[in-house]
């Protein structure tokens, strides 16, 4: 362990702002990359389900 206390870890001898902002931005970008396909998946599912239901209704009204 390189740091003796939590505040020392945060400050990193005055250089904490550089280190933590780098790690923060990285985490944010990766989180966006994980979330965006998950959200798109959900939207696609809804969309396709709707169109299947529409097809089924049309089929029923025709017959």
């Amino acid at each position: 362990m390189q740091f003796s206390s939590f505040s020392e870890l945060i400050q990193m001898g005055g250089q904490g702002i550089f280190v933590w902002s780098s790690y923060g931005i990285t985490l944010l970008v990766i989180a966006i990359n994980v979330l965006s396909p998950l959200l798109r998946r959900r939207a696609l599912r809804k969309e396709i389900k709707h169109s299947i239901n529409r097809e089924v209704r049309q089929h029923e009204s025709n017959s």
Partner: protein, 255 residues
């Protein structure tokens, strides 16, 4: 030899099928997620808490543990995109076109991380956020190449035309890769040379480069996870008229 060729051919055709890719990725995805979370988590703890500080750069040195893996991935993602694009262009392989497409936003993200963390590292260490030297400029060009490929995809409605045009752009952009890789050796620059060289012991102690190696592996696993996540969406979108996708959608619960 003939047997081997037949085996390669069989797997080529299988993996070329979006449905096969979807099924097999469903099985592998949880494991890949677990491995990348473990590697990144362990690597992060090592990088932030246990790695010693650099005798010249101090604590800012810790940025290396995300900067180098991100930059390395930025290049690898481009290579993978260009290779898949070429395969898609030559053999019209659907799955290759999909992989080529989904690599672009992920590669752009990692290039962005490399550029931003590099700038944040540069300010306290070399006294500037940015200079127009060979490594930094070629990395910025890589970022714009990714953005160009993404916007070309967004601008062309027809999927086949889009795949073709973006493939050509991606292949032209390959010239940039050796320039990035060797820029620190060809030109005098502010950027330091590579930490890991093939068949050579790194110039840092093991407790410094071990976390870096772990983070690299973790980032590569994470990249595979991100590619699979996006590719699965793309498959569902493109194959929405097929029977197996409809069955898959109807089989899942409302969410």
């Amino acid at each position: 030899m003939n047997r081997l060729w037949a085996l390669i051919k069989r797997y080529y055709h299988r993996l070329g099928s979006p449905q096969y890719f979807y099924d097999i990725s469903t099985r592998f995805l949880p494991w890949l997620v677990a491995v990348s979370v473990l590697l990144c988590g362990f690597g992060l703890i090592q990088a932030l808490l246990f790695a010693p500080q650099d005798y010249q750069q101090g604590q800012t040195f810790r940025i290396i543990y995300i900067h180098v893996p991100a930059a390395s991935l930025a290049l690898s993602a481009y290579l993978m995109m260009a290779l898949s694009a070429a395969i898609g262009l030559i053999w019209k392989m659907k799955m290759a076109e999909i992989i080529a497409k989904v690599c672009a936003p992920i590669g752009a993200s990692f290039t962005f991380i490399a550029l931003v963390t590099g700038a944040i590292w540069g300010k306290p260490t070399w006294g500037t956020w940015w200079i127009w030297d060979a490594r930094l400029t070629s990395m910025l060009i890589l970022f714009f190449l990714y953005l160009g490929i993404m916007s070309l995809h967004a601008a062309i409605q027809n999927t086949q035309t889009a795949a073709k045009s973006t493939a050509i752009l991606a292949l032209v952009g390959v010239v940039n890769l050796p320039i990035i890789k060797y820029s620190v050796e060809w030109w005098n620059t502010l950027h330091q040379p590579a930490t890991f060289k093939f068949m050579q012991k790194p110039a840092m102690p093991a407790d410094m480069w071990m976390p870096l190696l772990i983070m690299m592996l973790g980032f590569y696993c994470l990249f595979v996870v991100l590619v699979i996540l996006r590719a699965r969406c793309e498959i569902i979108d493109r194959e929405r008229r097929s029977r197996w996708v409809k069955e898959l959608i109807l089989a899942t619960k409302q969410d």
